[in-house]
């Protein structure tokens, strides 16, 4: 074990959640990582709440609506859009901590830091076309219900195509993470997660027809471009949140391979594990 852990740390108190959190704040070496992880979990939940239940822009409406129907759509969601995207705007910066945490996983790997920096910058700028522009377009659309319907139609397209059609950032970003995981010798993530990044990257290719079709399975609300893609994305997100949690528990702040968890003992012969500990 490293010398750094010799410092005396008081016992974690039993009892209320507040006291436990306070203990972690003061004494847990991994508090930065846990702040990052909890930010990810809370943000994704908020995201689901805000987009699916409050703004109700997801699942997306059809691109084939006529301008008068689009005006009606904005009208139906007037307060949902305005309040929903106000909150998205307030919490949207949490993505900075989220992406920083994921970039850190790459820093912990045995690969070059270029991977961490690439991922960080790619995903940081992805929030603009990929999330915030939709907020602006929907707010501008909702705030003047008497706007020219043709312009409302343009704002509608602007919102949904930016949101779903911003592909390259997530494509390249996922590939960066994939390569990092596959080359990594520190066992930060299992190799199959590297491959799962490829699946996520491919969803960005699959969504491309949304820029062409206004109806059918390839439109931005279609069975293939949205529903199946969303299933892959949700799986991917759930998986990396789980793996990240495991990684944080295993973290030893060294630069070599991350130690395995006790429950994964079966993967290694006892001798090698004993020597590492």
């Amino acid at each position: 074990m490293s010398a750094a852990t010799v410092r005396a740390v008081p016992e974690m108190p039993s009892g209320s959640l507040i006291r436990k959190i306070a203990w972690h704040w003061r004494h847990d070496d991994k508090r930065e990582l846990w702040i990052g992880w909890w930010t990810l979990v809370i943000f994704y939940n908020l995201y689901g709440l805000l987009f699916f239940l409050i703004a109700r822009t997801q699942p997306p409406p059809p691109p084939s609506l006529a301008p008068s129907e689009i005006v009606q759509w904005f009208d139906d969601r007037h307060y949902g859009l305005l309040y929903g995207y106000a909150f998205v705007s307030i919490v949207g910066g949490a993505t900075a901590i989220m992406n920083a945490t994921l970039a850190y996983t790459m820093r912990r790997m045995s690969v070059s830091r270029a991977f961490a920096y690439s991922y960080l910058v790619i995903y940081a700028l992805a929030t603009l076309p990929g999330m915030l522009i939709m907020g602006v377009a929907c707010t501008v659309g909702a705030m003047r219900p008497d706007r020219d319907p043709e312009l409302m139609s343009w704002l509608y397209d602007f919102a949904f195509l930016s949101f779903e059609g911003t592909m390259g950032v997530f494509l390249i970003g996922s590939l960066v993470w994939m390569v990092a995981v596959l080359l990594d010798e520190n066992r930060v993530f299992p190799k199959w997660f590297g491959y799962l990044n490829l699946c996520n990257a491919l969803t960005e290719v699959v969504v491309a027809p949304a820029w062409i079709f206004k109806r059918g399975v390839f439109a931005w609300d279609g069975a293939i471009a949205w529903w199946i893609n969303m299933a892959v994305f949700v799986t991917y997100t759930t998986v990396f949140l789980t793996l990240l949690r495991k990684m944080i528990v295993r973290e030893d702040f060294g630069s070599g391979p991350l130690p395995e968890l006790e429950s994964d003992h079966a993967l290694e012969p006892a001798g090698a594990l004993g020597a590492a500990r």
């Binding site: 010798e185 199959w192 799962l196 699946c199 290719v205 062409i212 069975a223 199946i228 799986t235």
Partner: protein
């Protein structure tokens, strides 16, 4: 010293350690990395969902699909399928040769796999070009949207397959590497791509 070093697999690589441990215990769950099988299963799920959507849409407009399908050239489809099947055979021989330690044979088979894969790519592009010239593009009708989508996604997986084969070649070429597990992993990916093509061929070309 040097002879020992060349006989041993690359020290320190985690795959190699895991592979060595597995072999030491005499337990082999699957050929190649189990991780690749996770990927294969996941992709199979995703492709199955695409196929399901295709079949459902087809039953909703059977005449349109039947008519459009007639414009595909079945002979080219069969040719492409055979080419990929032969390439799978080549990669299987590559794995076999690597296992036996005949690495130059393994290398040749890997190159052969690439060659057949390349033949498929060229044939596919020519087929697309012909169809586009005849006026059947991505947006022509729903059948052709599916046709181009499925074949293009497969094409993309095949391109990735070349990268994967490249990794296998890289492993086989150097005595310091030559991880049998990694070669098998690459072969698994290639077989899967072949398998998906057979399904796509059946759905798009054959099923009426």
């Amino acid at each position: 010293m040097t002879t020992v070093a060349s006989a041993e697999p690359r020290a320190g690589g985690p795959d190699e350690r895991a592979g060595a441990q597995e072999r030491a215990r005499g337990v082999r769950f699957v050929p190649g990395q189990p991780d690749m099988w996770v990927f294969v299963l996941f992709e199979a799920l995703v492709f199955t969902s695409y196929f399901t959507v295709y079949v459902i849409r087809r039953t909703q407009s059977p005449d349109l699909f039947l008519q459009s399908q007639a414009h595909l050239d079945l002979r080219v489809g069969v040719f492409n399928t055979l080419v990929l099947l032969v390439s799978s055979w080549a990669v299987a021989r590559c794995v076999q040769a690597a296992r036996e330690g005949s690495f130059s044979a393994a290398l040749n088979n890997a190159y052969l796999t690439m060659l057949f894969g390349f033949v498929f790519l060229v044939s596919k592009v020519l087929e697309w070009a012909t169809e586009i010239e005849q006026g059947f593009g991505f947006t022509t009708d729903e059948f052709f949207s599916f046709y181009y989508f499925l074949t293009a996604i497969h094409f993309l997986h095949l391109l990735i397959g070349f990268v994967v084969l490249g990794v296998a070649v890289y492993e086989i070429r150097s005595p310091a590497r030559r991880s049998q597990e990694l070669v098998e992993t690459c072969a698994t990916y290639w077989h899967t791509i072949d398998f998906f093509w057979v399904l796509i061929f059946a759905l798009l070309y054959v099923m009426r």
